[in-house]
Assembly symmetry: C2
Homo-oligomer: 211 residues x 2
DNA sequence: TTCGGTTTGTTCCCACGTTCACAAACTCTT
DNA sequence: AAGAGTTTGTGAACGTGGGAACAAACCGAA
């Protein structure tokens, strides 16, 4: 489920506040979802709560971490060290959650050797060697759209089976490979869409419904 | 609909390849969706196709742009100019699609005046004035999680009604305000989840189903 | 031990989105 | 002009996910 990471974050917040036990209602409001939905999600993982009491925060946190696979170490490669790749390499949210950036790759050979976030940028040709050396399963694409499919293909050929794509293109991959797309401008466009509808609604209200 | 931006991108690609007309099948495969779904989505906007022929790429592109609200100009403010805010300010995908970054704000006063992407960083206190001056309706939050809710509240107070949130926290907002959340580490966690299940599946297969 | 209060796990129902399948409508050839 | 071939738009079935409601289970007090 895509909501598990949200629950995990909420649990971490509770733990920081030294709250050891919580009800589904509390956790649900912290995660911004319905309590029935949360209980159903959690029951899907197993029976980790106690009726009449609630959930043990730390125990539940461990169970969700284990379910997601955060108890193990995930080596990650980032391809395309432009503005976004640079930001991703420095993003602390990755390293603090079991993800370890093992290499930064860029096709522009003039940038090879440049130091970013404590790692030297390496040439894209080293992808396969790095993947095999570190057992990398997850790749991040932060290249321009034109290069994304080619990078993706070579990632898959090297053995990567999960890709996080920031380039504004749909990637086609063989079965067994997962792709998640984060499209920054699409997000803004969706907001603009709703914003425009809100504006149209208020304009209609201002005109009056007398028409 | 959240798929409209994807269709729009696909149409732009077709237009660059100088393709003037396309069938729902072609456009659907370019957008990575089912053709029936695409036709239903488009018919929801109106009857912009011709039976037996297909869709006029440019005409359809204009209609979708209009529906999303991209025919008008959307001023945007970005709050929190760390690594991510820096990358967002430089991201060309925003400016090329009708979104205009009018101000970069940061609470750290020592950064005020610094030039990023052709704009001077300004103090967070100027938010309200900027929103009113430019008629800003969309705000981007790229601050640490701890500051996000406070920034959000002040955005809403200043009159912003659509927020794109990159901070890893759930934001609570009053009715009428839209929030979209982009959580980078959640995306990786979801990939790890699937990756782990794939690994477990292959391990079971290696053990043999003879048990 | 028993009873009242609380909270989980689960069942049932509803609504939405997705997909299939087909009629309507258009083009082109003969 | 008529028919064959395409392609859209839509009606109907299907499956999935969400929400309300309730029974089972636990705690604490008497």
């Amino acid at each position: 489920m895509a909501r598990l990471p949200v629950y995990l974050r909420a649990l971490n917040s509770l733990l920081e506040a030294d709250i050891r036990t919580c009800s589904s209602e509390e956790l649900a409001s912290a995660a911004g979802v319905n309590s029935a939905k949360l209980r159903k999600d959690l029951s899907y993982l197993g029976s980790y709560g106690t009726r009449g009491v609630g959930y043990d925060v730390e125990y539940l946190r461990y169970q969700i971490s284990r379910e997601i696979g955060l108890t193990q170490d995930w080596p990650v490669v980032i391809v395309g060290i432009g503005n976004l790749g640079h930001a991703l390499a420095n993003y602390s949210g990755f390293s603090s959650r079991g993800f370890r950036t093992v290499a930064l790759l860029d096709a522009d050979s003039s940038r090879t050797g440049e130091l970013v976030a404590g790692l030297k940028i390496r040439g894209f040709g080293e992808l396969s060697a790095i993947v095999h050396e570190h057992g990398v399963a997850i790749g991040v694409i932060a290249t321009p759209a034109a290069a994304a499919q080619s990078v993706c293909d070579q990632m898959v050929a090297a053995g990567i089976s999960s890709i996080l794509n920031f380039a504004p293109t749909v990637l086609t991959v063989p079965d067994g490979v997962d792709v998640r797309m984060v499209d920054l401008s699409s997000e803004l466009q969706i907001l603009a869409y709703h914003e425009q509808r809100k504006a149209a609604a208020t304009a209609a209200a201002d005109d009056g419904v007398v028409a």
